[in-house]
C-alpha cells in the first residue's frame, strides 16, 4: 500500500467510520473527537440513527461517522444491516468510509476482538482504539498496546475517552490513515478460528487479564437477586414514573401559560382579522402544542440515558423480560411502555432501545393504549360531572375507582393487543435474544447531554413540522367558513354559532349517524374531531359549544343539564358517559403520537394502521359499553 498525498485544501475531507460493539465507549470517543456538533438524522428509508460530525485535527479536518453499535458483521437487525451497507458503500448518498476506527473496551477484548477480526477482513485501513484503560488498570489488568499493534498489524492506541487521555495520539494518527500499517494476512474467516486468533493476539499483548469489577460484583449481588432485585426494580420504576409524571408538570404549565400570553400579545398588537387569528390560534398554538412536550422528553431521556449509561437499564430489562415475553415482547420494551403512561410521544421515541424491529414495531403500536396524561382532563371532567362521589366498602371513593378502572382497562388492552400483534404483524424472522450486562459506570455527563439533545432536536425537527401543519389545518376546520352574524351578538353566542357552522361543526353533524349507536350527539362529534389535535382539546371545545347555551353555568353543570331537543332525554346519560370514557381509553386521538409513529417507522403505513385498529377497537368497545350500561340501568 503506497502512502497517498495529504488531502489538498478544498478536497472533500476524509471519512472515518467508528465501528464497535454496544458499550464499547464508541459514542464517548465520537463526542471527544467532534465536540457536540454532531449531525443526527436517519439513514434513507430506515429508522436507524445516523450520526456524523466533523473533527478538527490541527490544519485538517475529517468527517467521523458513528456507526450503530454491533457485535458482528453478519447482520441480524436493520441497525446491523446498515453498518454493513455503509462499510461497503451501498447506502445511497452515504459515501463509503476511507478508513475504520475500531473501538474496543479494554476489559472485554476477549469478545471484542471477534468483531475486530471481521473488520480486518474488509479492505480498509484500520486503527484500533482501546477504551477504558483506567478501568483495566483498576481491575489489575495489563495490556501492552505496542505488542498488540505488532500482533494485529495495525496501529493500536489506549485511551480514557472522557478524560482525554490518549486522544492526542488518536488525533495525530487520524490525519494520515493511508500511512497506517495493514495486517500482512487477514484474520481467519470462520467464527471458531477467529476465537483462537483472538486468544493468540491477547496471549502476546496482555500480561495480566483484568479481575472482576468490584463495584459491579457488589451491586449485582443485590440487583440480580431474585427478591431484592425485583423490589429494587419496582422502586426504580415507581420513582421514574413519578418523576416524568409530576416533575415535568410545572414546566409544561409554564409553557402553556407563555403560549397563551404570546397569543394574547399578538392579538393586542395586531389589528383583528384573518391573519391575526391564524397567527394567534393556528401558528402559535400549533408551535405551543409541539414545545409543550419538550419538558417530558428532556426529563425522560435524561433519566433513561443516565440509567442506561450507568448500566442499570440492562438489568431492569433482565428482571422483567420473562413477564414481557408472555405477550411476545421483551424486557427492553417495558420502560418505553411505562413512559407512555406519561405521554406516548417520548414513550415511542424510547423504543429505540429495543433492537428487534418486530418487537419495536409492536411496542410502538400498543403504546397509545397506555393511559397518557392528556386523557386525565377528559376523565376528570366526565367523572366529576357524572360519577357520584360516594364511597365503596366504606373507604374507597367511587370516582377514584372509576379512574383506576380506566387505567387498568388501557393497560390490559395494551398487553392483549401486544399478544395479538406480535403473533400477526410482528411475526418475523427468528432473532436470537441476547442482552449484555455492562459493568456499572458513572455516566459521563457529556454523553448524557449529547443523547438528550439528539432526541429533543430530532423531535422538534421531524415531528414538529407535521404537528404544526396539522394544527393549522384543524384551526381552519374549526373556524371556517364564517357565517354572517349580526354585529350586536354577544361574543359567546357568536363563537358557538361559528363553531356549529364551521367545517368541523358540519363534520360533527355528518358523523352523527356513525356515533349515534354510542349515544354521542353532534356536539360530542365536534369534540371528537377537535380532539384529533390532542385529547384534552375536547374539553375546551365542549366549553365553547356550551358557553352560551346556559349562561352562568360551569361546563360540568351544562353537561349535566343538556337535553336532546328531539327526545327530551338527557344527552349525557349513564350509557353515553361510560361509552365516551371507554372511547377515550382506546382511540388514538393525538396527532403528535401519529407524527412520532410516522417518524419512528419511516412510513405512513403504521400511523394509519394504529389509528385504524384503535378506532375500530374504540367504537366496538364503546358500543358494547353503551349496550351493557343501558341494559343494567
Amino acid at each position: 500500500m503506497t502512502a497517498s498525498a495529504p488531502a489538498s485544501p478544498g478536497a472533500a475531507p476524509l471519512r472515518l467510520g467508528l465501528l464497535g460493539s454496544p458499550n464499547s465507549g464508541k459514542t464517548t470517543l465520537f463526542n471527544a473527537l467532534t465536540g457536540l456538533r454532531a449531525r443526527v438524522g436517519n439513514y434513507p428509508g430506515v429508522t436507524v440513527e445516523r450520526r456524523e460530525g466533523r473533527a478538527q485535527l490541527g490544519p485538517t479536518s475529517v468527517d467521523v461517522i458513528d456507526l450503530p453499535g454491533t457485535y458482528s458483521l453478519a447482520p441480524v437487525s436493520p441497525d446491523e444491516e446498515v453498518v454493513l451497507q455503509v462499510l461497503h458503500g451501498e447506502v445511497p448518498g452515504v459515501a463509503r468510509p476511507d478508513a475504520l476506527v475500531l473501538v474496543a473496551d479494554a476489559c472485554t477484548l476477549d469478545r471484542s476482538l471477534l468483531l475486530v477480526a471481521q473488520a480486518l477482513r474488509l479492505d480498509l485501513p484500520a486503527l484500533l482504539v482501546v477504551t477504558m484503560m483506567d478501568e483495566l488498570e483498576a481491575r489489575g489488568g495489563r495490556l501492552d498496546t505496542e505488542r498488540m499493534s505488532q500482533a494485529l498489524g495495525i496501529p493500536v492506541v489506549g485511551v480514557v475517552g472522557h478524560r482525554g487521555i490518549g486522544m492526542a495520539e488518536v488525533k495525530r494518527l487520524l490525519r494520515q490513515p493511508h500511512n497506517w500499517d495493514r495486517p500482512p494476512l487477514p484474520p481467519p474467516e470462520s467464527s471458531s478460528d477467529r476465537a483462537g486468533w483472538a486468544d493468540s493476539v491477547l496471549s502476546v499483548a496482555r500480561s495480566q487479564r483484568p479481575g472482576s469489577h468490584q463495584a459491579t460484583e457488589a451491586l449485582d449481588r443485590v440487583v440480580l437477586h431474585p427478591v431484592a432485585g425485583t423490589v429494587l426494580f419496582a422502586a426504580v420504576m415507581i420513582l421514574f414514573f413519578q418523576l416524568i409524571f409530576t416533575a415535568a408538570t410545572p414546566a409544561m404549565d409554564w409553557i402553556d401559560g407563555a403560549i397563551g400570553s404570546l397569543a394574547g400579545a399578538v392579538r393586542g398588537a395586531l389589528p383583528a382579522g384573518f391573519l391575526t387569528d391564524l397567527l394567534a390560534d393556528g401558528v402559535i398554538a400549533g408551535v405551543g402544542s409541539v414545545v409543550i412536550f419538550l419538558p417530558q422528553i428532556v426529563l425522560l431521556f435524561t433519566v433513561l440515558h443516565f440509567l442506561e449509561d450507568a448500566g442499570y437499564m440492562a438489568r431492569a430489562a433482565f428482571v422483567v423480560d420473562r413477564a414481557m415475553g408472555r405477550v411476545g415482547l421483551e424486557g427492553r420494551a417495558f420502560v418505553s411502555l411505562l413512559s407512555s403512561y406519561a405521554c406516548a410521544v417520548p414513550g415511542i421515541m424510547a423504543t429505540r432501545t429495543v433492537p428487534s424491529p418486530t418487537h419495536r414495531l409492536v411496542t410502538i403500536l400498543v403504546s397509545p393504549l397506555m393511559t397518557c396524561s392528556a386523557r386525565l382532563p377528559v376523565y376528570a371532567l366526565l367523572i366529576a360531572a357524572f360519577v357520584p362521589s360516594t364511597t365503596v366498602a366504606g373507604f374507597l371513593g367511587l370516582q377514584g375507582l372509576v379512574l383506576l378502572g380506566l387505567y387498568l382497562l388501557g393497560t390490559l388492552a395494551a398487553l392483549a393487543a401486544a399478544a395479538v400483534l406480535s403473533r400477526t404483524v410482528g411475526r418475523g424472522r427468528g432473532l436470537p435474544f441476547y442482552l449484555e450486562l455492562p459493568p456499572y459506570r458513572v455516566p459521563p455527563l457529556r454523553l448524557v447531554v449529547s443523547q438528550v439533545w439528539g432526541a429533543a432536536s430530532a423531535f422538534l425537527k421531524r415531528a414538529g413540522s407535521i404537528i404544526l401543519v396539522t394544527s393549522i389545518v384543524l384551526w381552519f376546520l374549526l373556524h371556517f367558513p364564517k357565517p354572517d352574524l349580526p354585529p350586536d351578538l354577544p361574543p359567546q353566542d357568536a363563537a358557538r354559532i361559528e363553531l356549529e357552522h364551521s367545517f368541523a361543526g358540519r363534520l360533527g353533524h355528518a358523523l352523527e349517524p356513525a356515533i349515534a349507536p354510542l349515544g354521542f350527539d353532534w356536539k360530542i362529534g365536534v369534540g371528537l374531531v377537535a380532539s384529533l389535535a390532542a385529547r384534552e382539546v375536547i374539553v375546551a371545545t365542549l366549553a365553547q359549544i356550551y358557553a352560551a347555551q346556559d349562561e352562568g353555568l360551569s361546563l360540568r353543570e351544562a353537561l349535566q343539564r343538556d337535553v336532546d331537543p328531539r327526545t327530551g332525554e338527557k344527552v349525557f346519560d349513564a350509557p353515553t358517559v361510560a361509552a365516551l370514557l371507554v372511547f377515550f381509553v382506546f382511540a388514538l386521538q393525538c396527532m403528535s403520537t401519529l407524527a412520532v409513529i410516522r417518524r419512528e417507522t419511516a412510513s405512513w403505513r403504521w400511523p394509519a394502521f394504529a389509528f385504524g385498529y384503535l378506532l375500530v377497537l374504540a367504537w366496538g368497545a364503546s358500543f358494547l359499553t353503551h349496550r351493557i350500561v343501558h341494559a343494567v340501568t
Binding site: R111, S191, A195, L224, D321, G430, P432, F433, Y434, L437
Partner: protein, 77 residues
Amino acid sequence: MQTLDALVVGGRAQVVSVEATEPIRGRLLDLGFVPGTEVRLRSRAPLGDPAVYELRGSRMCLRRGEAQQIWVQRLDG
C-alpha cells in the same frame, strides 16, 4: 454433555458446540459462545428465565430457548 440452560447458578462449563439454525448460530458464536470457551452461570431472573452468563470478560443474558441450543461440558462436580 448437556445444554447450557441446565447449569445451576454458579456452575461452570466449556462450550462444545452451538446447534442452532442461522442466523442464531452465527450470532451466538460472535457473542463469544465459541467451542472451547469457558462459561459460568451468574444468576437467573426472578421467574427462572432469562439467565446471565459470564464469558470472555463480559456478562451476557440469554433466554432459555437460546441457551438450549448451546451444548456444553460441565467443568465442576
